[in-house]
Symmetry: C2
Subunit: 269 residues, 2 copies
């Protein structure tokens, strides 16, 4: 993939601060960055906005909103309120997309959790529309259904998004979460009008840690070329985020990590 | 669930030998047992057949056939041959079902692996029909798509089974593998004519090890009552296997484990 579409998701450098990541991306000629809220909070939103602008970077997305299901109405309201603040941050940073990791059931009722997600998104949509931020529903790998997201497939994410206006609610396709899907290519086609972000990384074999064992593009078994072509065919032409949660990757100095990410992105992204 | 439907899958007692499991199941009044091929091989098939018969147990299934995809035609032929031997073992033990864990791609081409699975099953079907053994396609959790099974959903398993005669090829529903599916209940209904086995256990939260961290029924987040009712509604009235891969469970003496399994099966199974 061409370098001009590369976005460095800062979760790939979890040990680095936001200023460090922004400075390194600019120096290594990476055009986009994706920022996480805990890192934005550490730095302060205003400082983050200035750093990104001064560095000439574009923020492809802010991670993450969502986490809507909770055991009580009070807690659900608090989560929705927190999502409004996430929308504010995305708007301030000029990020087109706020990525939603939707949240898991607080109990055994995954169906009820799914309804809470739909209700939560509905509550955030008017504010997101007003602020010009697109909510990107990211289906997570079913391995995270118990702890992070009851939304587990592209189809489910797309059907949920379709309850809301196009342009306000879309779908985020991350290869790690969707590569196994027997209906992947049909669903990428079906999601085409809603695709608002595309994330790359790889699925390592053997897989020793589903959460913190993601691989660098090319090191695993995901057919990135074929999935990337399908995403292109679906008409998605925006930035492509490299997002890798991996202790070994996190241990790399930024000046080794970023050249590696660029090389693998061009070769496999 | 009623005790008369309980089948103890011996993977739940991986540290015990086949004779130990058979003896303990009989003594604890468990009517069915599910046996694994590496344990049958340790004991010898003829001895296993005799032990099971003398103990008055019924073998609900033999685990496992499958593992069809491989890089070379020679290796794929060898795998098919091995499946014929698995059919022999199931037939000798009077097991109605040979569980198929279908196998993963030897490379990045999961689509090609799926075709190899279909071809492999087709090659085994005539022999299975002759020997009166049903091949049960078990969709595995997508977390295993890179290493154990390219067949990851109930729908995919059912559609694959439908290429073959009913009664010869069916579908195995294991709650651990399918509980997250947004179309679970529709798919259990759709699979009704093909359902040949039902496995229970639980999904622990937090999940620390996808392979060896399955939980005892009631210890996790799976809505066993609702899924069990759907399986019943689908018309499946056969044995229900308890299959738990878990180091802590494996460390329990059989005379503690089996009463616990019985209690949890009756309460949650």
């Amino acid at each position: 993939m061409e370098m001009m579409r590369l976005s460095f998701n800062q979760a790939t450098a979890e040990r680095a601060s936001l200023p460090e990541v922004v400075e390194a991306c600019a120096r290594h000629g990476i055009p986009y960055v994706s920022l996480w809220r805990h890192k934005i909070a550490e730095t302060g939103l205003d400082v983050a906005v200035r750093l990104v602008r001064d560095a000439g970077l574009t923020v492809s997305s802010v991670c993450r909103g969502g986490m809507f299901p909770a055991a009580t109405a009070e807690e659900r309201a608090r989560r929705i309120e927190d999502n409004l603040r996430a929308v504010d941050e995305a708007a301030a940073l000029g990020a087109e997309v706020l990525v939603l990791v939707c949240g898991a059931a607080p109990d055994k009722d995954i169906g009820a959790a799914r309804a809470m997600v739909a209700d939560g998104i509905a509550a955030v949509v008017p504010y997101a529309a007003e602020r010009g931020v697109t909510l990107g529903i990211e289906p997570l790998h079913p391995a995270f259904a118990g702890e992070r997201s009851c939304i587990t497939t592209l189809r489910e994410a797309r059907r949920l998004a379709e309850h809301f206006p196009r342009g306000i609610v879309g779908v985020v396709a991350d290869v790690y979460h969707i590569w196994w899907d027997p209906e992947l290519y049909e669903e990428l086609d079906a999601a085409a009008p809603r695709l608002v972000a595309y994330h790359v990384n790889d699925w390592l074999v053997p897989q020793t840690n589903v959460l913190l064992g993601r691989g660098m593009m090319g090191d695993g078994v995901i057919d990135l070329a074929r999935i990337g072509a399908a995403v292109e065919r679906a008409g998605y032409m925006g930035p492509i985020e490299v997002e890798i949660f991996n202790e070994a990757v996190w241990a790399m100095p930024l000046d080794e990590l970023l050249p590696l990410v660029k090389r693998r992105f061009v070769e496999h992204g």
